[in-house]
């Protein structure tokens, strides 16, 4: 467990020294969501209807933007080799890296989403559901994305390939995440969606680090 926390601390410290990389993804999220009203028109009823979908798709793409960097830097400078050979279980170190990725690329989106939701005329309770759904959904995106990042490590055209591999796997998160807000607005209650998101998150917490570890070992062979 200490190894996991040490990895998180290390990656956060590294991100602190190179802030621009983290901020890029956050700015991307803000800009993409702001583009939609400009493209569609400022009609409040329509915007309110498509808000959950837009915010979720933007969150999906913003997470994707940070994924290629998840292991690439450590791969290039050889620290990943040292992690594989470390006495600490690789699964824990990988889990730490994924957690750090979420803290850097996922959590800012969760915190920004209510503000951006205001642009789309969402009311307070819908904003709460949106934030909750993103809070459950963005770690899921980081976990699934890590598998793709490990599989495409050091591969030609890795970034585009990563999107091709990961985006289909993101669809359940998108459906339930955006669906939660829509169901709430429609007065159906978001409980079912949120608990399914939580169930998928629990599943991913168990399996994703394991699959990522296996993929990393293959990538280093």
């Amino acid at each position: 467990m200490n190894a996991l926390l040490a990895t998180v601390r290390r990656d956060l410290l590294l991100a602190l020294r190179r802030k621009s990389e983290v901020l890029t993804a956050v700015f991307f999220f803000v800009i993409v969501t702001s583009l939609f009203p400009l493209g569609i028109g400022p009609e409040p009823v329509l915007l309110k209807k498509i808000a959950p979908g837009i915010l979720w798709v933007a969150a999906l793409l913003a997470t994707l933007l940070g994924l290629p960097r998840l292991f690439a830097a450590d791969h290039v400078d050889g620290t990943l080799e040292q992690m594989v050979l470390s006495p600490s279980p690789l699964g824990l170190l990988v889990a730490g890296k994924i957690l750090a990725h979420w803290l850097l690329c996922g959590l800012p989106l969760v915190l920004l989403a209510p503000v951006l939701g205001l642009q789309f005329d969402l009311d307070a309770s819908a904003l709460v559901i949106l934030t909750l759904a993103l809070l459950l959904g963005t770690p899921l995106l980081s976990l699934i994305g890590a598998i793709g990042a490990a599989l495409t490590l050091g591969v030609r055209g890795g970034g585009v390939l990563l999107a091709l591999l990961v985006l289909p796997l993101y669809i359940p998160a998108l459906i339930f995440g955006a669906g939660a807000v829509e169901a709430h607005i429609a007065g159906l209650g978001a409980g079912g969606h949120l608990s399914l998101l939580a169930a998928m998150l629990a599943l991913a917490v168990f399996f994703a680090p394991w699959a990522t570890t296996a993929a990393l070992r293959i990538a280093l062979e």
Partner: protein, 199 residues
């Protein structure tokens, strides 16, 4: 302690080596020699368990590797600098130790850096150091991370004469304390004794 037998490795279609075998006991070291492309680095990666062998067996304390016990007693320094450019040498050492689950206080890490001749550089980001100095930061891990088996791939590259001498001393100390080492190099090494393995 370390027994290797019948090791074979190929890269793509090309067979690099076959039937490589040796054994190391406490205090012994092995000098892996060979031309460029002979498979020295591949052998090292195979020995530490980074890549699987086509055939053969590597046993540590009579147990098959790689195992967590083996990794605990192993330190491998390869071609890569394996240090983070944005962190200082001190942070690099302490974070690497933390990832390995080893408690390392600031005094011990400072002492290691000073021994490696990095006094006054411990709080500069690594990216402003020279290639040789980066190499020294990596080598400081030999002092901060207790390990029985040192696997050093081209460790003498990019080092100046005093550093080569220093690394030679470190290895000699390690061996006389009952440690083991496997080194690759083209040139003669400033370490007495040692078995030779030519690929």
């Amino acid at each position: 302690m370390l027994n290797v037998s019948g090791l074979a490795c190929s890269r793509g279609e090309r067979r690099l080596f076959a039937d490589v075998g040796f054994s190391l006991a406490a205090g012994e070291w092995l000098h892996v020699q060979g031309e460029n492309g002979a498979g020295k680095t591949s052998l090292m990666r195979l020995l530490v368990g980074l890549s699987p062998a086509d055939a053969g067996e590597i046993r540590w304390r009579d147990e098959p590797t790689p195992s967590p016990e083996f990794r605990r007693e192993l330190i491998y320094l390869g071609h890569h600098a394996a240090v983070k450019e944005d962190l200082t040498p001190l942070e690099n050492l302490r974070l690497a130790a933390a990832l390995d689950g080893i408690a390392l206080d600031e005094r011990a890490s400072l002492a290691a850096l000073i021994r490696l001749g990095l006094r006054g550089r411990e709080d500069l980001p690594v990216c402003v150091l020279s290639a040789g100095q980066k190499r020294r930061v990596l080598l400081a891990r030999l002092l901060t991370r207790p390990a029985l088996l040192w696997v050093l791939d081209e460790a003498f590259n990019a080092l100046d004469a005093p550093a080569v001498k220093l690394l030679g001393e470190l290895i000699a100390e390690h061996l006389s304390a009952g440690g083991m080492a496997i080194l690759t190099s083209h040139q003669a090494l400033p370490v007495p004794g040692g078995k030779a393995l030519v690929l």
